[in-house]
Assembly symmetry: C2
Homo-oligomer: 193 residues x 2
DNA sequence: CGCGACGTTGATTTGCCTCAACGATTGTGG
DNA sequence: CCACAATCGTTGAGGCAAATCAACGTCGCG
């Protein structure tokens, strides 16, 4: 049932079959319809989510009453609100399925137990965090080093899959621009070619 | 010599005195003059740096030939270029002392050994990464949810120490605005009060 | 069918940058 | 100790990229 997670872990660290079973028995598979939520503002985030199939997004409502997407998670990515988990404060984020999805639910307390029992699992999670942090760094780099137009073009050529699977207004929200702006850039592009 | 690092680790995880010694014997204390570099573009980053005293910054040169600061590290923070470490590619960042500083140098290979030998140390590093990632998330949130003026005001009231220790143009670079812009905001502020 | 969600297009506004010149302060060599 | 340059911050004028506001088109779905 959780083969995909175990396979993913084994790309980075070695775990025995018993350890794999231990991990499997600690998690739950959730089937989510499009637009279903696993976290909403006001609730404390208590789990880490691994995307088996589908696409999740993490977002909040900005001052201007618009959705602000801070993260997407495709297959084999983890997504959660670490801030809420660490501080034990209520989250101000939504985590929502963009498409029909299957995600593995890993409760925070169980994660703590597993990381103590299985050092290799702790290492795996550290490696995932390091990747996530690097991605966040790169994204900030792009925010400060490119114009909005460059950023959109770079994003859509580097992650063409997203343009297929994600509505334009979500891409806009993720990139920190307006949907109108993206529309104009695309109009320009098609004139050139 | 590395008491400060050991104390910091023990705020988050338990380690024995032997483990503490093992860690201490694996690291080196560097004394850096203001403006000294521990990493420059073109070189592969091979270590993690823990700030004992002083202030470090991580930055790169943007397309417009201006410095873009992506991270500061005060006392008790780690700083490095994970991207270069993971990919083993040359870095395109500078890591530089903003003030005279003392940093603890932890070689990547030694870090790998220590994390295998001491699971609690791996856990400590994961916790540090989680904090760093959360901070990066928050920063992106601010970038998309505030005007440049709000962001500067929020930054300077939330981290007043930085305004003492860091020249204005570095704050500007970190916030992604021009030094002139900050100057104007401050002028406005003093008129009001 | 009719409604809502999503995208497009045009006109106007605005927040911040750019360029440029001018202080103030610091540090350095003669 | 002073002259000078370099560094850092301030101020003003003009320009531009993207946001905002608003209207309209189109597709999919209950």
């Amino acid at each position: 049932m959780c083969d995909q997670l175990i396979n993913h872990i084994r790309k980075f660290v070695q775990i025995s079959d018993e350890e794999a079973k231990l991990i499997s028995s600690g998690v739950t598979l959730l089937k989510l319809k499009k637009k279903a939520f696993v976290l909403t503002p006001g609730k404390q985030c208590k789990a880490n989510y691994f995307v088996v199939r589908g696409l999740m997004r993490l977002y909040f409502i900005s001052k201007k009453d618009t959705e602000q997407i801070t993260q997407f998670a495709l297959e084999n990515w983890w997504i959660t609100d670490y801030d809420s988990i660490d501080s034990k404060h209520p989250s101000h984020f939504y985590i929502q399925a963009v498409e029909d999805s299957e995600v593995i639910f890993l409760d925070q307390n169980i994660e703590d137990e597993l990381t103590v029992q299985i050092p290799a699992f702790e290492r795996y999670l550290r490696i995932m965090l390091q990747k996530a942090f690097t991605a966040a760094q790169r994204r900030m780099e792009m925010l400060n080093n490119m114009t909005d137009e460059e950023r959109y073009r770079s994003f859509s050529t580097r992650f063409p899959e997203f343009n297929q699977r994600v509505p334009q207004y979500m891409v806009a929200s993720y990139l920190g621009v307006t949907p109108q702006f993206i529309s104009r850039v695309r109009a320009k592009k098609s004139l050139i070619s």
